[in-house]
């Protein structure tokens, strides 16, 4: 009798233990949602007052000069836009080209070397790139293009492009890799060359993954801070079309990074910088929601095809 009692007591203990651990694991799983919500709440809390303190016409004007209470964010939006656009011009062709080469053309041994190598690029800290941009890239750009300064949107774009490439390569390469072998075999069996197969069959089949790759790469470029702050010259002027690439620019991220350290908590300037943070958060939210929607849809379709 006593032994039996002992056993059931032990069993209860085990069941309680299991319950507690299960709950803890569950809570950890939910924590990701919590963090996104809390981040948003805190950004709103510190950033929304800007809308009361600064008139809308000021906020969306072309002049950013906080010392005299000019908080026009258009130059910053423009700066982010031009730098990101330039980065995309670098990252998309080179990233996709590399992804196609790795996934479809390179022999196995080359793939084993190339993939980790591109991952190394993803690991290089952005300050290191910024530093090299200052000491190695900008001076050469200045001489080469005969500019007054090499610290321009272009320098930022080139480096940001480099930073985005690993994202583009790895997502696009995954997408190409996921295209069923049978598609390629069928195309080749019909007499298509490998080149035709890549263009006409594999790429279209991996389309949504490739789009996701480009979007995530762009998202990476918009959010990057240190490199752009160090190499773009930080002049808050609205870029004059593509020519703006060859002039200094200043992005939203760089503005926050450069100025937040010097403002008083709770000041108008402080609130406006948080407001810019809200914009960045929303931009990344839209990009990632769209990208994940594409990914989910693609996965669903793949499941349908396979089942």
């Amino acid at each position: 009798m006593e032994i039996k009692l002992n056993v059931s007591w032990k069993k209860t203990l085990q069941a309680i233990n299991e319950q507690v651990i299960t709950r803890a694991i569950q809570a950890s799983g939910y924590s990701a949602i919590l963090f996104v919500v809390v981040i948003f709440i805190f950004l709103m809390r510190e950033g929304l007052p800007a809308l009361e303190e600064v008139s809308v016409s000021n906020l969306f004007s072309a002049r950013w000069y906080p010392i005299e209470d000019y908080f026009g964010i258009l130059p910053l939006l423009g700066g982010s836009l031009i730098v990101t656009l330039g980065a995309a011009l670098v990252a998309v062709p080179f990233g996709l080209g590399t992804a196609i080469f790795i996934a479809e053309i390179a022999p196995r041994w080359a793939r084993e070397i190339l993939k980790p190598f591109v991952e190394v690029m993803a690991g290089i800290p952005s300050v290191v790139l910024g530093f090299l941009g200052i000491v190695a890239l900008a001076p050469r750009l200045r001489v080469l293009l005969d500019l007054p300064t090499g610290l321009t949107a272009l320098a930022g774009s080139l480096l940001l492009g480099g930073i985005s490439i690993p994202t583009v390569v790895s997502v696009a390469e995954d997408a190409l890799d996921a295209v069923p072998r049978a598609y390629r075999d069928a195309a080749l069996a019909l007499g298509a060359t490998r080149w035709q197969t890549i263009w006409r069959v594999t790429l279209p089949a991996a389309r949504s993954g490739v789009i996701t790759a480009v979007m995530l790469g762009v998202g990476r470029a918009i959010g990057e801070t240190m490199t752009v702050m160090m190499v773009t010259g930080n002049a808050p002027v609205i870029p004059a079309g593509l020519a703006g690439l060859f002039a200094p620019a200043r992005t939203m991220t760089a503005t926050i990074a450069a100025e937040m350290g010097e403002v008083a908590a709770g000041s108008v300037h402080y609130h406006v910088l948080f407001f810019i943070g809200i914009l960045l958060f929303l931009i990344s939210l839209v990009i990632n929601l769209t990208a994940s929607a594409v990914v989910f849809r693609q996965r669903k379709r793949a499941e349908r095809i396979l089942s």
């Binding site: 299960t22 000491v135 959010g223 948080f274 958060f281 929601l289």
Partner: protein
């Protein structure tokens, strides 16, 4: 021209296109890979001469223009340590939830979307968030603690997704057998699934740390100090850190010798690439030893 000839010439043209196309893509790849190589070579060439015992173990002197970078190195070690402390248990637990417990429900999809979004939030926005919540709201001040908590949340998605992938790669049959032997779910996870996926999880953790160690923007206003004459004495002190130090000496200090800049960049790069290398080694060794 009869059909036969036409087909022949078309085949030749298609072959030519293919050769041109492959050549172009190969060139693109080379132009992507070579700059990476160039970056690493430049940093090593510029940095190696300035590495010395004094540089690694001394304090900065003469307005940081000479002396060593010990406080920055140690600061990055502290930050990485505390980030690990916060991010790893939570990240692994979340990965276990997603891989072992979560049903395929709307809530689970929401969690996944949240993780994707966490991964996409710009690092400077994490900096703002850390300033708002940890530094000001919880009144931790600019401190190692505030900075590490900020970095931890930023690192979380990396840890979760790599750990989940590692957990999922353990064959389902092991779980079924363990359950059929009367083990509970948690026993199955702890005794079978976790040990088998440990190398993969470790890889994820290290990749997360690599990201935390190299980041500057999230610590700008949460814990990084321009210059400190002494080492931090508690997690509530601010600290110097390698990436921030490199930023400071490349942009904020006039007349900075490039030697010191390159040296700092090299130490940071070695730290980060070293972590990457360790992760790669763990992964490949585990693959070789795996029994399934």
């Amino acid at each position: 021209m009869d059909t036969h000839q036409r087909r022949n010439s078309s085949t030749a043209r298609r072959k030519l296109y293919q050769r041109l196309g492959f050549g172009l893509l190969g060139l693109t790849t080379a132009l992507t890979v070579l700059p990476i190589l160039l970056i690493v070579v430049l940093i090593f060439a510029g940095g190696v001469p300035s590495i010395s015992l004094e540089f690694l173990t001394g304090f900065p002197s003469n307005g940081m223009r000479s002396g060593g970078i010990l406080p920055a190195i140690l600061g990055t070690v502290y930050l990485t340590f505390f980030t690990t402390l916060f991010a790893v248990p939570l990240g692994i637990a979340a990965a276990i939830y997603l891989s072992e417990y979560a049903a395929d429900s709307a809530l689970t999809r929401l969690i996944r979307i949240a993780i994707i979004n966490l991964a996409g939030i710009p690092s400077i926005v994490y900096g703002l968030f850390g300033l708002g919540i940890f530094v000001l709201f919880f009144n931790l001040g600019t401190s190692i603690l505030a900075a590490s908590l900020t970095l931890a949340i930023m690192t979380l998605p990396v840890v979760i997704s790599t750990a989940e992938e590692a957990l999922r790669s353990v064959p389902q049959s092991f779980r079924v057998v363990s359950i059929s032997l009367g083990a509970t779910k948690w026993q199955t996870v702890r005794r079978i699934v976790l040990p088998q996926s440990l190398p993969g999880i470790l890889t994820g953790v290290i990749l997360g740390l690599e990201r935390a160690a190299g980041e500057t923007a999230p610590i700008l206003f949460t814990g990084a100090a321009f210059y400190l004459p002494t080492l931090p004495s508690s997690p509530l002190d601010a600290t110097m850190a390698l990436p921030y130090h490199l930023y400071v000496i490349s942009t904020q200090v006039p007349g900075m010798p490039t030697r010191v800049q390159y040296g700092t960049a090299l130490v940071l790069l070695i730290l980060v690439l070293g972590l990457n290398l360790i992760a790669t080694i763990i992964r490949s060794r585990a693959r070789a030893r795996r029994q399934w």
